[in-house]
Symmetry: C2
């Protein structure tokens, strides 16, 4: 999906909500466990209940990989079930030397048909560029993440600026705002205004709202740009909003609350 179509979708739905399908077989309602593929059954119900309220689904591969081959089957069914007009993110945090990164790009863009994949920047240019070579596809590069560990290296000072600023500015120069986004944690809202100044045009994928405690209001005030420029992700706060037979209704209500709040910030 290209930038224009994504921005248009956001405008139409008055939503920049991304729902994270971090589906953990330990946490899904017990009545689903009798399904042949409980993880897909859960995801299908969540997608059916929320697909008009969000513009993106993010699948964190870790939750699927740990189930072995069965997990990849659930992942494949899920991504195939997501409507074509919704932006899909493989939250896989991949990255390797150039030759090998190309295989990761093929995996998520071609084998599974995702629109985008999250990429770890530590290995530098030749580890990121292969993800930028697929028309209509996106690399979403880790910038300043939402977790405590972001202090260890990302927030190291290099002269006057932080490592994460160097990483984002340098990485941005390898592609464009049409094929590169950045992960910026909602828990880092103090830094978001500065990051937006550094990168006025790029989309940011913002995890950390909800269970991790980030504020949607704050991130929106500081992060929105003329083309919206934000995808705000909620995972646990939406998909585990309820745990009964009507879990999908509860997920819809949680997604609706986010969408309504977002509609106020979009003008």
């Amino acid at each position: 999906m290209n930038r224009q179509d994504l921005v248009q979708l956001i405008r139409e739905r008055k939503s920049y909500l991304c729902i994270g399908l971090d589906t953990d077989i330990q946490k899904i309602p017990k009545h689903l466990l009798s399904h042949a593929d409980p993880i897909f059954a859960f995801n299908k119900a969540i997608i059916d209940a929320t697909k008009d309220l969000c513009v993106s689904y993010k699948i964190n591969t870790a939750f699927y990989e740990c189930q072995g081959i069965r997990g990849w089957e659930s992942l494949q069914r899920t991504v195939e079930y997501i409507p074509d007009d919704i932006f899909t993110i493989a939250d896989a945090k991949r990255g390797d030397i150039g030759n090998t990164s190309t295989y990761y790009a093929k995996t998520f863009f071609e084998t599974y048909g995702f629109d985008s994949v999250t990429v770890a920047p530590y290995m530098g240019r030749d580890s990121v560029e292969p993800f930028l070579a697929f028309p209509g596809k996106w690399a979403i590069v880790l910038g300043l993440t939402s977790n405590e560990g972001s202090k260890d290296f990302q927030q190291t000072k290099i002269g006057e600026r932080f490592l994460y600023e160097q990483v984002m500015q340098t990485t941005a120069s390898w592609g464009s705002a049409d094929n590169t986004m950045f992960v910026v944690g909602a828990t880092q809202s103090a830094a978001v205004a500065d990051i937006r100044k550094l990168l006025p045009d790029h989309f940011f994928l913002v995890p950390g709202v909800g269970a991790q405690g980030g504020s949607l209001k704050e991130i929106s005030e500081k992060g929105l740009n003329k083309d919206v420029g934000l995808l705000v992700n909620a995972s646990r706060a939406v998909i585990y909003a309820g745990n009964g037979e009507d879990f999908a209704d509860d997920a819809r209500k949680a997604a609706q609350a986010y969408q309504r709040e977002m509609s106020q910030y979009l003008v």
Copy 2:
């Protein structure tokens, strides 16, 4: 596999060779393509031909993931086929927030039974520590990688030292030399002596010998420690040494040349 067993295996075989099963379906001998699982058929032949010459096999997941579910089946068959006394590495370069990294650790240590997994450090402590919580298992953290892109961020100067030095020293403090190794590229031999000073006890996994041009002699002179402390990986130079019906014999010859050279450096 614990450190003591690994060191003993290296001493017995007079080899610190790791063979990288970066098996690309485009590059394997054509006569294997009629097998039900050509990638496994190739790996099986390579393992049969080299298992007494190396102490480790490294499986780079990218080459398997891009084949979809079939690829994960090949990966699983391969890791199950590797003899139990050989150290197995999932070269997956994973890393995520703590909750999620635990799922990656379970994936490779429990679901597939690897001894170790490569880990990307950019997200910091809570992204690495989950990999250190499994007895007898190892995190192999990216330090200074073999590729050109290592200049972009890893070799950034932070005051008097490089980012990769900060990453390695800090990460080393989260675990011990019994559960943490570091990736140090063979193409970075100028830096290896200093890295060895910084981390006298840790094992380094060294890719970049062979196709990428690193020197086994140089890396051995600078990197060996009292417990050996090196696993030197060759992938393409061994597995694609030949391309005919007798490709496994050619792979054995290539592995044997490495093992013989290594035996000279081990005293």
